[in-house]
Amino acid sequence: GAGVSQTPSNKVTEKGKYVELRCDPISGHTALYWYRQSLGQGPEFLIYFQGTGAADDSGLPNDRFFAVRPEGSVSTLKIQRTERGDSAVYLCASSLGNRAGTGELFFGEGSRLTVL
């Protein structure tokens, strides 16, 4: 597609349930990022992929959060045993991945997760 696509756009779940959020990056972009944005806050870094591998996962808040990118394109963010504090908009972004280049990240519109 022309831009970064995220599904679902909205997800409502109950506390304790498992959730998967999907990101389809721009074709040809080797770098993929996940951010979390809570109300009134800026995007908070979670994890960054270069190709299939997680180059930096230092932002994942705990071991309930996990992300994969098995073929170097689509990525899935997985949240186990969801808690009310996980409610936020989860943003995905992709880029050409050239550290010395423009550095521009292209963002999707986000997946809004609500944990009841």
């Binding site: 970064v4 770098a31 990022y33 951010y35 009134g40 806050q41 800026g42 995007p43 908070e44 870094f45 960054y48 270069q50 180059a55 930096d56 230092s58 932002g59 943003l91 972004a93 991945g97 550290r99 423009t102 550095g103 521009e104 990240l105 963002f107 999707g108 519109e109 986000g110």
Partner: protein, 113 residues
């Protein structure tokens, strides 16, 4: 590690007035600097960036920002705002030695007629 501080959470301004949105950063290494904008019900999009060279950078819709290394600032300015500039503006920083982009908490610019 890098960090970003946006001192103003909200900036109300009348149409055609000038505006400045402040951004300060902290880093132990050289940095790239960015401003992203989020219009209502839309995703984040790049407004302008400083990578190297001229410290004054401009966007296509009249915004400009100046990299000031001594003051570790990258303030965003526009001499005359429009209603359509109403949005959330995020300053972001990336160190030369990392691929991680760190965002500030954002400034909501509200332009009134």
């Amino acid at each position: 590690a890098q960090s970003v501080t946006q001192l103003d959470s909200q900036v109300p301004v009348f149409e055609e007035a000038p505006v400045e949105l402040r951004c300060n950063y902290s880093s132990s290494v050289s940095v790239y600097l960015f401003w992203y904008v989020q219009y209502p019900n839309q995703g984040l999009q790049l407004l302008l960036k400083y990578l190297s060279g001229s410290t004054l950078v401009e966007s296509i819709n009249g915004f400009e920002a100046e990299f000031n290394k001594s003051q570790t600032s990258f303030h965003l300015r526009k001499p005359s705002v429009h209603i359509s500039d109403t949005a959330e503006y995020f300053c972001a920083v990336r160190g030369y030695n990392t691929d991680k982009l760190i965002f500030g908490t954002g400034t909501r610019l509200q332009v009134f007629p």
